[in-house]
């Protein structure tokens, strides 16, 4: 399958040559269990810790603050499941634009007596003052994503963190501030140590690493308690034999994406700007807020998402229909609608997502194609 004209990197970013090579090398060099005490096991263990250190270096955090998981969904689950250790249910604050991996915990938490507050996100942005207003003494967890996966909105996690930390001073317990940061990793300035985030989830396959591996950042391990520590791997946070080759490949992909970061961001900002201009000229409406991640652009056409996506697909461009024109999707809440754009615009929204490998030519071709399609609107 050719990668040409692929604009769905936010769904998955195909493995880079580098991470494929890294995976293959690690899989053949470290065939043993990192928990084994023989030499092969010890070497595997060393390689695992080196990968962790590499990730920690790139993210400017301590290695022991990183837990390797099977992906962001598992990382998110660990944070939410950890609440079940609490003796008494309390309050959880999330936003209406969280990923389903977060929202899917609402029914369970409610059943267990938790009070789940969902904050609005007009124009895609969750306001720190809304978080502040929702904080109560019973609040145990605030979960606001760093970058929205549908519209690219970059949330002000620093400001949110600040209001939480301020409020927390009057409490005996700490409020965990968790931020699903899948779409931020390697794409948007993200400083875990300075942001005041307590925990964050990451996925390798969104940055060209392998599937089935991800990470949970935890400022202090005591904040999160695993439901199933099993064999005690990952500092007792995540049991099970480590997916070593994937972890090593992930660490290399991570290092690679942060290489010459500033230039990449500059280039991507220019591509995004060009896309916004070109698609506006072609008659599309821009849904992504100003200041959104340059990697994600959400737009609406006069056609239903699904139809427009299919038409682009027939012309060789892969994009994502922000919302399926289906009965199922109609029942759910649409992020574009939450932004305040109305049902119709939401049902005709598509997500265009790019990566550092996206070329100027691909962007120009996409714009030209949409302009040609205008007669069919």
């Amino acid at each position: 399958m050719a990668m040409q004209n692929y604009f769905d990197y936010a769904a998955t970013c195909p493995m880079s040559e580098l991470s494929i090579r890294s995976y293959a090398k690690a899989a053949s060099e470290y065939p043993f269990n990192p928990s084994s005490k023989h030499r092969g096991g010890r070497e595997a263990h060393k390689a695992l810790e080196e990968a962790r250190e590499k990730c920690a270096r790139v993210l400017s955090v301590m290695p022991e603050q990183l837990v390797f998981t099977s992906g962001a969904t598992e990382s998110i689950s660990m944070v939410f499941e950890s609440l079940l250790w609490q003796k008494k249910p309390g309050r959880v604050i999330i936003s209406r634009i969280e990923h389903d991996a977060v929202k899917s915990f609402i029914p369970l938490l409610k059943e267990k007596g938790w009070d789940v507050v969902q904050l609005k996100a007009k124009d895609g942005i969750v306001k720190a003052e809304d978080v502040k207003a929702a904080l109560t003494e019973e609040t145990r967890l605030v979960s606001i994503m760093s970058v929205n996966n549908v519209n690219g909105a970059v949330e002000d996690v620093n400001a949110i963190s600040a209001v939480i930390r301020e409020y927390e001073k009057s409490l005996k317990h700490r409020i965990i501030f968790f931020s699903d940061s899948v779409q931020a990793l390697g794409k948007v300035g993200l400083s875990l140590s300075e942001s005041g985030i307590d925990a964050a989830s990451f996925s390798a396959h969104k940055i060209g690493g392998p599937r089935g591996v991800g990470m949970l950042y935890v400022r202090k391990k005591e904040l999160i308690r695993s439901l199933a520590p099993a064999g005690g791997q990952e500092g007792g946070m995540r049991g099970g034999t480590e997916n070593l080759a994937s972890i090593i490949s992930f660490s290399d992909a991570l290092e690679d994406i942060y290489h010459e970061r500033a230039e990449k961001e500059k280039r991507m900002a220019a591509l995004n700007k060009r896309l916004r201009e070109g698609l506006s000229e072609a008659g599309l409406l821009i849904n992504s807020p100003d200041g959104a991640s340059p990697y994600i652009l959400n737009v609406s056409s006069p056609l239903p998402s699904e139809v427009f996506t299919r038409m682009l697909d027939d012309r060789g461009f892969s994009v994502s229909s922000g919302s399926a024109c289906s009965n199922n999707a109609r029942k759910g809440e649409n992020i574009i609608e939450v932004m305040g754009y109305g049902r119709e615009r939401a049902m005709s929204s598509i997500r265009i997502s790019m990566f550092d490998s996206t070329s100027e030519k691909e962007v120009e071709d996409l714009i030209a194609t949409v302009k040609e399609m205008k007669s069919e609107f």
Partner: protein
């Protein structure tokens, strides 16, 4: 040597007069069509068909085939023996060993003596076999009204025994009442309409209007799946996939917005009529139920009917949605019908559709759209699929 035997009860056919033979012949043909792989051979005796199959015939497949063949009211895996008392008793023991009754509950012997020369009466035969049952299952008691288990014995040219009789779908054999063209959408209703019409003997082919890219290929796959699911009831069905995008776009462009659905329906009728004529079909069958949606009012239906000379049959006209859903579940199409691939894109659905159109006005509007060329083009590009009586897709026999 054929050795697996099924006894088949035919219902309404046995009440037919002079043309009964035609119905029976068709029923035998329809059954054989599904089971030819096992050398199906059918013998007929008063009110019963005896289906002989190779010993390796798969019970589940046979049961599926018979329970979807209209004209059959009931059937059972049966065992044949000679017409003497000892043979009957020993066969009864064998049947009960193969299909044991439970350890608790009640039973009954249902004896039927067609051959009055047999020395035992039905009652005497029942008593004799009740003893056999009692010996094998001493805890069971007799209950003639609502038994948990029944051993049937029929004395005819030979003697037949069976325990587990199953209900057939009833109705009349398909292809005894001419051919109809079904407008098959991806929804819940039209497959049910097909089954209703086929139940009275109609042979049915299906038409689906595909509007890619406004409807997805998944929607087409869903319709093909539905066609394969109803095919066993229909004794096989052709599926005509009519590419209708250009026709729909033309209507969207030229028609009054509130009338678009009506105009679609009219153009679909016209298309179906042309295909029907080519197939020598005498009716168009739709899944419409009165007042279910805007295009299913009496006014809307009189308008769409007026656009075709072909008889339009709406088997679901008086059914509630709940009743339709319950039949869809019975025939196994419901789960597929509710898959979320829409058969009409929202851009073609007016926000405020006309519900009580003026027939003559709407006719004029339709004619002014000059759809004939688009329809002919759509028919010329139609793709035809065939699903055989077992529901398998097959290349079309021309």
């Amino acid at each position: 040597m054929n050795s697996k035997l099924y006894l088949i009860k035919e219902g309404e056919i046995s009440l037919k007069g002079g043309n009964r033979n035609l119905f029976e012949k068709r029923l035998r043909h329809n059954i054989k069509d599904k089971l030819s792989g096992w050398n199906a051979n059918i013998e007929k005796q008063k009110g019963r068909l005896y289906l002989f199959l190779d010993e390796d015939a798969d019970d589940e497949t046979v049961e599926k085939a018979l329970s979807t063949t209209f004209g059959i009211t009931g059937f059972a895996r049966a065992y044949r023996c000679e017409k003497n008392v000892d043979a009957i008793v020993s066969m009864a023991e064998e049947v009960l060993r193969k299909n044991p009754f439970g350890d608790k509950g009640t039973f009954k012997i249902e004896a039927r003596r067609e051959d009055k020369s047999f020395p035992l009466s039905s009652y005497e035969l029942s008593v004799l076999l009740a003893k056999t049952v009692h010996e094998l299952f001493p805890a069971l008691e007799v209950d003639l009204k609502r038994p948990d288990y029944t051993l049937h014995v029929e004395v005819r040219k030979d003697v037949y025994l069976y325990t587990d009789d199953k209900k057939g779908p009833g109705g009349l054999p398909v292809q005894t009442a001419g051919r109809g063209m079904l407008l098959l959408s991806g929804g819940i209703d039209s497959p049910v309409a097909a089954i209703r019409a086929a139940k009275r003997g109609m042979k049915i082919d299906s038409i689906y209007f595909h509007a890619y890219p406004y409807t997805s290929d998944e929607a087409l796959e869903k319709v093909k799946k539905l066609a394969s699911l109803i095919a066993p009831y229909l004794g096989g069905t052709r599926l005509y996939v009519v590419p209708f995008t250009d026709a729909q776009l033309r209507i969207k462009k030229l028609s009054l917005e509130e009338e678009t659905t009506l105009m679609f329906r009219a153009s679909m009728m016209r298309t179906a009529e042309k295909i029907a004529k080519e197939r020598k079909a005498l009716a168009i069958v739709t899944g419409e139920a009165l007042s279910q949606v805007a295009s299913q009012t009496l006014e809307a239906m009189s308008f769409t009917d007026s656009m075709t000379d072909t008889l339009v049959i709406r088997p679901l006209v008086g059914m509630d949605k709940e009743e339709i859903i319950s039949t869809a579940k019975e025939i196994g199409t419901y789960e597929t019908s509710i898959l979320p691939y829409e058969d009409c894109c929202v851009i073609f659905s007016p926000k405020h559709p006309v519900t009580h159109p003026d027939k003559e006005e709407s006719r004029k509007h339709y004619l002014s759209l000059e759809m004939d060329e688009e329809i002919d083009k759509a028919i010329a590009n139609t793709e035809v699929f065939y699903f055989n009586p077992l529901g398998k897709e097959e290349s079309l026999k021309r």
